[in-house]
């Protein structure tokens, strides 16, 4: 029998720790300097949106990495973060701070409960169930117009201060960029630490061979649901940030096309490294911006690029970079 500890050998390859950490710190530091290096408000605003997309893709990629499960419905948790924050705020149903806390917790909690049922089912069936759950919620926010004006969406006005923090900071591209950048770094570090923790290794063991993990005495449903909840929590945080920045919620936040885009970002970036999907999201976002400005047929260009990346770099951009660094180190 293989114990979880011995499964570290099958964990995805990472670049050597010391150069990796230094590089991560350099990337983080450089990113923090950007607003002070004369970056335009337009670039910073685009970066805010790219980082929010990166967070959503990180959630999707993390689920693939730890659970081996492909979610077609992660937009549900992104949108839920936005709606749980925006709806009570607009209708004055809850104290604003309470709405923020709930918006951060509810997506993870819902995913955990759903996960107890749907993460038991492997493969395409799970993907379809995740899609079905997301579309159910999408239909609700679309049809129940009293909630947030259905298809038209709803502007959300926040109080001037929340938890003593000036909300204007969350709507100014410069400060919001810094907040999002640091939060993304924190999420990535947090998830990376999780993957190296005993519990993280257990989830990898379950992913590799669920039956074996069960036979050696581990409970296998809760860890999978926990990973699902964690990845949904990250998507929910992205939704909360998007709502703060845009001051607007609409059913598009829950639509399956957003889930699809997040998955495409994760595939482009590669899911073997925790940071892969985030890299894929930023590349995808700017690629789409540039191609979208050049042609109305950008979806075709994205599709072809996806095929090329999948064929030429099955481990995604992060896999490609990791291989390059490994070669240099050798």
């Amino acid at each position: 029998m293989t114990s979880p500890a011995t499964l570290t050998a099958t964990a995805p390859a990472r670049p050597a720790r010391a150069p990796g950490s230094v590089l991560a710190l350099v990337v983080l530091g450089t990113g923090c300097l950007l607003p002070f290096a004369g970056a335009s408000p337009l670039l910073l605003s685009l970066l805010v949106q790219a980082i929010i997309g990166a967070m959503l893709a990180t959630g999707v990629g993390f689920l693939v990495r730890q659970n081996g499960m492909v979610s077609f419905g992660h937009a549900l948790f992104f949108g839920l973060g936005g709606y749980v924050l925006g709806v009570p705020m607009a209708h004055g149903l809850l104290p604003p701070e309470m709405a923020v806390l709930l918006a951060l917790l509810v997506p993870a909690l819902l995913a955990f409960l759903l996960g107890l049922v749907i993460t038991r089912i492997p493969g395409v069936a799970f993907s379809m169930l995740s899609l079905a759950c997301a579309q159910t919620f999408y239909e609700v926010v679309l049809k129940v117009r009293t909630l947030a004006n259905g298809d038209d969406g709803m502007s959300v006005t926040f109080p001037a201060r929340l938890f003593g923090l000036d909300v204007g900071l969350l709507q100014d591209p410069r400060s919001m960029y810094l907040i999002c950048w640091v939060l993304l770094a924190a999420v990535l570090v947090g998830l990376w630490l999780f993957t190296r923790s005993p519990y993280g290794l257990l989830t990898l063991a379950i992913r590799s061979n669920e039956e074996r993990a069960r036979f050696i005495g581990y409970e296998t449903v809760v860890p999978r649901a926990a990973v699902y909840a964690l990845s949904a929590g990250v998507a929910g945080l992205a939704g909360v940030l998007a709502t703060f920045y845009n001051g607007f919620i609409s059913p598009d936040m829950m639509h399956w096309t957003l889930s699809g885009s997040a998955l495409v970002m994760a595939v482009i970036g590669g899911t073997r490294a925790v940071w892969g999907p985030a890299l894929g999201a930023v590349v995808f976002f700017f690629f789409k911006e540039i191609v979208g400005d050049a042609t109305e047929h950008w979806p075709a260009v994205i599709g072809i690029t996806l095929i090329v990346v999948t064929l030429c770099a099955p481990a995604g951009l992060s896999g490609l970079l990791a291989r390059l660094f490994a070669r240099r180190a050798a």
């Binding site: 605003s45 685009l46 038209d152 502007s155 609409s250």
Partner: protein
């Protein structure tokens, strides 16, 4: 293609003007509009009218020497995307925004205009909210709002013998507004709305809705669908025999492009017409003639006419402001009277709504072509109802 060459010629002529005339800061216009999706047809009409007006202005040496530059970005008529694209345009320096299609898009853009130091001119957004509770000093509307369509429809409805009506509307702010105002008008005249159908934007299959209308026994159907939705519904209603068994009329439904898509079955269908190329006044005749020169074989449609009016208003406001800065134009826009292809119209200070006439008509053959023809004109003071007290932008 002939018209592209002619437009190109006009642009080339504009480029050859003396450098001094064009040395001033350009008037930079951003157009976040639906270039793909359900409302793509409306978006392409908006785009064509803006390109026409810009080429015409540049050929005449610009607006007070300011060259007109236009950038377009696709919103797919989605409010969330419209908000992002509008921000992108504004931050790129195109701070005069114009021409989104769905009302939800305008409502999404409005709260951010001050932050972007931009202004927005609605040319097809009809929801009353835009000039009521959601009004902001930087948002203006030149087209007729839903309340104006309702005021225009009411006298027509009074003369109809059908006692029971069904509403078939898009499930967005505009469709909901139309259903509510039609219900009110019907009730005021002792008629009954027996069914309200709301279809999601981009619905392909209207069979269930059509069956429900038939089952309801409604003798008339008031339709508030536009673009691909309008064409899909009309084609399927025709196949199901609804166009023969009930009176079908509507708003944004009887447009030149819908008629062209439906063909002969559209004959006799009545509805609101906000602008028609058949309107008989010198300014409109000159516009239609210039249009036919630029785009041979076509006449300006409902939405093209309305968008052209927005450009007329904007250009006159730029002249009055003596500036191309959004803040200056926004200050100059309200309270003035503008010469347009629908005659002189005033931009009302109370709610930034252009006060103009509205029309009701029927699809029939005109100049050998099937098109909406105006049968009843409602003057500006009746057609544009009093400003909503919910809008508090005026001093």
């Amino acid at each position: 293609m002939g018209w592209t060459m002619r437009l190109g010629g006009a642009l080339a002529a504009a480029m050859m003007l003396p450098v001094a005339a064009m040395a001033q800061e350009p008037l930079r216009i951003g157009v976040p509009t639906a270039l793909t999706g359900t409302y793509a047809d409306l978006g392409s009409q908006v785009k064509r009218a803006i390109a026409f007006a810009a080429a015409e202005a540049n050929a005449a040496g610009g607006i007070d020497g300011h060259k007109v530059e236009v950038e377009y970005l696709d919103t797919e008529a989605k409010p969330d995307l419209a908000r992002r694209q509008a921000e992108k345009l504004a931050l790129q320096g195109n701070k005069v925004l114009i021409g989104a299609i769905a009302s939800g898009e305008a409502l999404a853009i409005a709260p951010l205009l001050a932050r972007w130091d931009a202004l927005y001119i609605a040319t097809t957004n009809k929801s009353d909210k835009i000039t009521a509770e959601a009004c902001v000093p930087r948002m203006f509307r030149v087209n007729r709002p839903d309340s104006s369509d309702a005021a225009t429809m009411a006298p027509w409805l009074k003369g109809r013998s059908e006692e029971t009506w069904a509403v078939m509307a898009a499930d967005i702010a505009w469709g909901r507004d139309v259903a509510a105002s039609f219900g009110k008008a019907a009730a005021a005249q002792g008629k009954k709305v027996v069914l309200e159908n709301f279809s999601a934007l981009g619905t392909n299959d209207f069979a269930t809705y059509i069956q429900k209308i038939k089952d309801s026994g409604a003798k008339g159907v008031w339709v508030a669908l536009a673009g691909r939705d309008a064409v899909n519904f009309a084609m399927q209603a025709k196949q199901a025999g609804l166009l023969d068994s009930a009176t079908v009329a509507g708003v944004s439904f009887v447009t030149d492009n819908t008629v062209a898509s439906i063909g002969d079955a559209a004959k006799g269908v009545a509805g609101i017409i906000n602008y028609s190329s058949t309107l008989d006044n010198p300014a409109n005749k000159a516009f239609v003639a210039a249009w036919e020169k630029a785009y041979p074989g076509t006449t300006p449609t409902n939405f093209e006419g309305e968008t052209y009016i927005a450009m007329q208003v904007l250009f006159q406001a730029v002249k009055a402001a003596g500036s191309v800065k959004a803040a200056d134009i926004a200050k100059a826009l309200p309270g003035r009277t503008y010469a347009t292809i629908l005659g002189d119209q005033q931009m009302r200070r109370e709610d930034n709504q252009l006060v103009g006439p509205n029309f009701f008509g029927v699809v029939e053959v005109f100049d050998g072509k099937l098109r909406p023809v105006v049968k009843m004109s409602v003057p500006a003071e009746t057609a544009t109802v009093a400003p909503s007290p919910a809008c508090k932008i005026a001093g």
